[in-house]
C-alpha cells in the first residue's frame, strides 16, 4: 500500500460537537491518535455546520441534545454537506429510538455518556480505519 510513503498519511481531521465545554475538552484531550487532528470544536449545530464547511473534517463527534439545532438535524445536514463523513454520536442516549434515528440519518457509531478514555479511543479507532 501507499502508506509506506509518509506524504500519503494525511491526518484524519476531527470536528468535536458538544454543547458542554467540559465534554469538548475531555474528548480533545483524551484522544490518543498521532494521526488525528482536531480541526474545530462546536457548541451547537449551526457552529458545527459552519466549521464543517470551513475545515472539511473526516470525522465528527456529535452530541444529540444541544440548544438551537439538535444533533439529529445536524447529522442530516452534515451528511448532505459531505456524504461519506464519519459521525460518532457521543450522547447520553436515553432511548434506543433516538439512536436508531441518528443511525438512519447517517451516524456511524455510538458512544454512551459517561465514557472512559479507553471507550472513546476504541470508538474513534473503529471509525478512523
Amino acid at each position: 500500500m501507499s502508506s509506506d510513503t509518509p506524504l500519503d498519511r494525511r491526518p484524519v481531521k476531527l470536528l468535536i460537537v458538544d454543547d458542554s465545554n467540559i465534554v469538548r475538552r475531555r474528548i480533545e484531550r483524551s484522544q490518543q491518535f498521532d494521526d488525528l487532528q482536531v480541526v474545530g470544536t462546536a457548541a451547537n449545530g449551526f457552529e458545527a455546520l459552519e466549521l464543517a464547511r470551513r475545515t472539511d473534517p473526516d470525522l465528527v463527534t456529535m452530541d444529540l441534545t444541544m440548544p438551537q439545532m439538535d444533533g439529529i438535524e445536524c447529522i442530516t445536514r452534515l451528511v448532505k454537506l459531505k456524504p461519506g463523513l464519519r459521525i460518532l454520536v457521543i450522547s447520553a442516549l436515553a432511548d434506543k429510538a433516538t439512536a436508531v434515528e441518528a443511525m438512519e440519518r447517517g451516524a456511524n457509531g455510538f458512544l454512551n455518556k459517561p465514557f472512559s478514555d479507553r471507550q472513546l479511543n476504541e470508538a474513534i479507532a473503529e471509525l478512523m480505519y
Binding site: L93, D95, K96, A97, A99, V100, E101, M103, E104, N108, G109, F110, N112, E126
Partner: protein
C-alpha cells in the same frame, strides 16, 4: 456444508460417465447397424460369386452335352436354351458384381477378361438357329449347317474345357475375398457387440450407483430435515429469518406460536408481527432499525448496542381470555453471503421472569436503602435510646412469641391470646413511635391490624395465626437489621471498635454512661414532641423526680408513662379552638411527678386537658358491649371512671397509631398490679385528668 462441494463434483462425474457410456452405446449401435448392413450385402455378393463359380464347369458340361446330342442326333433345343441362359446369367451376375463395392476389382477384371475370351467361341454357337439335322430316306444325318454348328460347339467345348479352370480359379478367388471380408466384418460386429454389452453393463452399474447415491442423499436430507424440525419444535426461543423485504421465511420455531399467539408466520412482515403489540412509536423505531440491519454501516456490535427491541414490553393473550404483560427480547444476527446480507436471523426470548426478578431486586435494594437512610438519620439523633428500646422490644416480642405458642382451643382461649398480643404490640409500638422509629412502629401497627382482624372473626383456628407469625418474623428481622446499624453507628461514634465484637457490648457501654432516668426523660420528651406535632396539640411535658425511680421499676414506669402520655395527647389535651374557648393557654401542660414516700413510691401523671366524662365513658363501654345499658345506668361516677382500666376499652371510634385500640390504661393497670401497686384516677371536666400510682418500696417486692 463442506461435503456439498464434493457431492456436486461426484454427481457431475457420474453424470459425465453416464453420458459417455450412452454415447458409446449409440456409436456401437450405429456402427453395428452399418456392419450388419455390409455383412448382409456381402452375403448377397457372396451368393452371386458362388453362383458365378459354378458357371464355367456348367458351361463346359452344357457344351459337352450339346455336342453329344448333336453326335447322337438328339434334340438339342433344350440344351441350347440352357446354354444361352447360362451365358446370360453369367453376364448378368458378373455385371451385378462389377457395380458393387467391396468386390476385389483386379480379380473381377481378370475374370471378366477371361470371360470375354469365351465370347468369340460361344457367340456362333448361341447364334445358331437352323435345323442341325437333315432327314433323308437313308436316314437322318447332320445337315450342312448342323455340321458347322457341331464344329463350332466342339471348338467352344474345347475352349471352355481349357479356360474353365482359370476362370473358375478367378471366380473362386473372388468368392474367397468376399468371404474373407464378410467374416472379418462379422468378427468386427462380434467385437462391437461385446463392447456394447460391456457398455450396457457399465451403464447399468452407473445407474445403480447413482440411484444408490441419490437415495442415500435423500435419506440424509430427510434426516437433516427431521433434525431441523425437532430443533424448531423444541427450542424455547422464537427463531426465524427475515428476508430483504423484511418478511419472515417459511422456517420458524414453534415457540413463536406461544410468544405471539398466532400460526401464520411464513411471509408475515416484521411490522405486521409487532403491530397491535407495541406502541406506534416503537413500531416505527423497530421498522427503521430492521431496515438499518441491511445497510453497510450496521456492524453487529453497533447494532446490538442500539437494539430498541432488547426489552420490549408487549401485551399478550394469556390463553384464558385475559391479557398479560410480557417482556420480549429480540436479537438480530445478520447472515452475510457473497452478495452482502442475505437474511437476518431473529431470535425472540420471553424474559419476563428476568425482568420481574431484576425489578424485585431493585425494589428490595431501594427499600433497604431507604430504611438504612431512615435509620441512620434517626440513630444520628439518639442511638442510646434506640439501643434501650431494642432491648425492651426484643423482650416484648419474645413475650408475643410465647403468647402465639400457647395452645388454644376454645374461642375464649383464642380471645385471651389475641388480647395479650394486642397489649404487648401496643406497648412496643408506643415506644417505637416515641423514638421516632417509624419503620418499626409501622410494622407493629400492621401486626396489630392483623390481630384486630382476627378478633373480629367468629371462629378461630391455629392456622389463622400463621400470617401473624410470619409478620412477626419479618419484624424480628427488621429489628436485627436496626440493631446491626446502631451497633455500627455507636462503634463509629465511640471511635473504638468493640473488643469482643458482640452485638450488645457497645450499647451496654453507652448505657453505662447514661443513667436510666436521663434515658427515660429523653424518651418521654421525644415522644411528647412527636405527639404534639402529630396531633397538632402543642403541650409541655414537665418531669419531676424521675431520678428517684428505683432501677427495678424503671421499665414499668417507662411503659406506663408512655401509655399515659399518648392517652393525654389523644384524649386529654383539647384542640386549639376548644382550649381558646375555655380560656385556657393554647399550650397544654402534662406534669409527671415521682416521689419516694416512707410507704413506697408515688407516681402522679396529670394533664390540663378535657378531663374524663363519666357519661362518655359509660356510652363507650356500652358501645363496646362491656356493659349493658342497664348496668351502665346503675354505675356511679367513680365506677364509671374505673372503666378505663378494663381490657378492650377505648373511647376513640377510629384507630390511630397512638390511641384508640382500646388497649392502654388496662396495660398500665396490669403492670402496676404486677408490682403490687395501685392506680387511681381523678378528673374535673374541662380542667384536668390525674392518675395516681402507688408502688410499694422496691425492696419489699420480689418482682424485678
Amino acid at each position: 456444508m463442506q461435503s456439498s462441494g464434493a457431492d456436486r463434483v461426484r454427481r457431475l462425474l457420474t453424470a459425465a460417465a453416464g453420458a459417455l457410456l450412452a454415447a458409446l452405446m449409440a456409436l456401437v449401435l450405429i456402427v453395428g447397424f452399418r456392419l450388419a448392413t455390409r455383412i448382409r450385402a456381402n452375403v448377397a455378393l457372396l451368393q452371386r460369386a458362388s453362383l458365378l463359380e459354378t458357371y464355367p464347369s456348367a458351361l463346359s458340361q452344357q457344351l459337352t452335352a450339346l455336342r453329344e446330342r448333336l453326335g447322337t442326333l438328339e434334340y438339342t433345343g433344350g440344351v441350347h436354351q440352357e446354354l444361352a441362359d447360362s451365358v446370360a446369367g453369367f453376364d448378368r451376375n458378373l455385371a451385378a458384381l462389377e457395380r458393387r463395392p467391396g468386390v476385389d476389382r483386379p480379380v473381377l477384371r481378370a475374370a471378366g477378361r477371361l470371360w470375354k475370351a469365351y465370347t468369340p467361341v460361344l457367340a456362333p454357337v448361341l447364334a445358331y438357329s437352323g435345323e442341325p439335322y437333315s432327314d433323308t430316306d437313308f436316314g437322318s444325318s447332320l445337315s450342312v449347317s448342323g455340321k458347322i454348328y457341331y464344329t463350332q460347339v466342339r471348338r467352344a467345348e474345347l475352349f471352355a474345357q481349357s479356360s474353365a479352370p482359370a476362370l473358375h480359379r478367378r471366380l473362386a478367388a473372388l468368392s474367397a475375398a468376399l468371404q474373407q471380408r464378410t467374416s472379418s466384418a462379422a468378427s468386427r460386429l462380434r467385437l462391437l457387440l461385446s463392447v456394447g454389452v460391456l457398455a450396457v453393463l457399465l451403464l447399468g452399474a452407473a445407474a445403480a450407483y447413482l440411484q444408490l447415491a441419490r437415495s442415500r442423499g435423500e435419506r440424509a436430507a430427510r434426516a437433516a430435515e427431521e433434525q431441523t424440525r425437532d430443533i424448531l419444535h423444541t427450542v424455547r426461543e422464537g427463531l426465524f429469518l427475515l428476508d430483504a423485504d423484511y418478511r419472515i421465511g417459511t422456517v420458524w420455531s414453534q415457540a413463536l406460536t406461544h410468544l405471539f399467539g398466532r400460526e401464520d408466520f411464513a411471509g408475515l412482515s416484521f411490522e405486521e408481527l409487532l403491530r397491535d403489540k407495541v406502541s406506534p412509536a416503537t413500531l416505527v423505531t423497530a421498522t427503521k432499525y430492521i431496515k438499518l440491519l441491511w445497510g453497510e454501516r450496521a456492524h453487529e456490535n453497533l447494532m446490538k448496542s442500539i437494539n430498541p427491541l432488547g426489552q420490549l414490553e408487549v401485551v399478550l393473550d394469556n390463553g384464558r381470555g385475559g391479557k398479560e404483560t410480557h417482556y420480549l427480547q429480540f436479537n438480530f444476527h445478520r447472515v452475510v453471503g457473497p452478495q452482502g446480507v442475505k437474511h437476518v436471523l431473529c431470535t425472540v426470548a420471553d424474559i419476563t421472569s428476568n425482568v420481574m426478578l431484576a425489578r424485585e431486586l431493585h425494589e428490595a435494594q431501594e427499600s433497604a436503602h431507604s430504611q438504612i437512610d431512615m435509620m441512620v438519620s434517626m440513630l444520628h439523633s439518639d442511638p442510646l435510646q434506640v439501643g434501650g428500646f431494642l432491648d425492651t422490644a426484643a423482650a416484648g416480642l419474645k413475650h408475643v412469641n410465647a403468647i402465639l405458642k400457647e395452645p388454644a382451643r376454645s374461642h375464649a382461649e383464642f380471645s385471651r391470646k389475641l388480647t395479650g398480643l394486642s397489649r404487648e404490640l401496643h406497648s412496643i409500638k408506643g415506644e417505637a413511635s416515641a423514638l421516632n422509629l417509624m419503620s418499626i412502629a409501622q410494622r407493629v401497627h400492621h401486626l396489630e391490624d392483623m390481630v384486630e382482624e382476627l378478633k373480629g372473626k367468629s371462629e378461630l383456628t391455629g392456622n389463622d395465626f400463621l400470617p401473624v407469625v410470619l409478620k412477626l418474623d419479618e419484624l424480628l428481622a427488621h429489628l436485627r437489621a436496626v440493631r446491626e446499624v446502631i451497633l455500627r453507628l455507636s462503634t463509629l461514634k465511640d471511635g473504638t471498635p468493640s473488643p469482643e465484637g458482640t452485638l450488645s457490648s457497645p450499647i451496654l457501654r453507652l448505657r453505662e454512661r447514661a443513667s436510666g432516668a436521663e434515658e427515660l426523660a429523653a424518651t418521654l420528651q421525644g415522644l411528647a414532641r412527636k405527639l404534639a406535632e402529630d396531633h397538632g396539640k402543642p403541650f409541655t411535658l414537665s418531669l419531676e423526680g424521675l431520678e428517684a425511680v428505683p432501677a427495678a421499676y424503671l421499665p414499668t414506669v417507662k411503659d406506663c408513662l408512655i401509655q399515659m402520655l399518648r392517652n393525654a395527647a389523644v384524649h386529654g389535651i383539647e384542640p386549639d379552638a376548644v382550649r381558646r374557648a375555655g380560656s385556657k393557654s393554647v399550650t397544654g401542660l402534662v406534669r409527671v411527678q415521682f416521689r419516694r414516700l416512707e410507704s413506697g413510691c408515688e407516681l402522679v401523671f396529670e394533664d390540663d386537658g378535657a378531663g374524663l366524662s363519666p357519661e362518655t365513658l359509660k356510652e363507650a363501654a356500652v358501645r363496646k358491649q362491656l356493659l349493658t345499658a342497664e348496668q351502665a345506668a346503675e354505675l356511679d361516677n367513680r365506677s364509671a371512671l374505673a372503666l378505663i382500666f378494663k381490657p378492650g376499652f377505648s373511647t376513640r371510634a377510629e384507630v390511630s397509631m397512638d390511641a384508640g385500640r382500646g388497649t392502654g390504661m388496662d396495660v398500665v393497670a396490669k403492670a402496676v398490679y404486677a408490682l403490687g401497686g395501685r392506680i387511681g384516677v381523678s378528673t374535673h371536666p374541662g380542667r384536668f385528668t390525674r392518675f395516681k400510682i402507688a408502688l410499694p418500696a422496691p425492696s419489699q417486692t420480689a418482682v424485678a
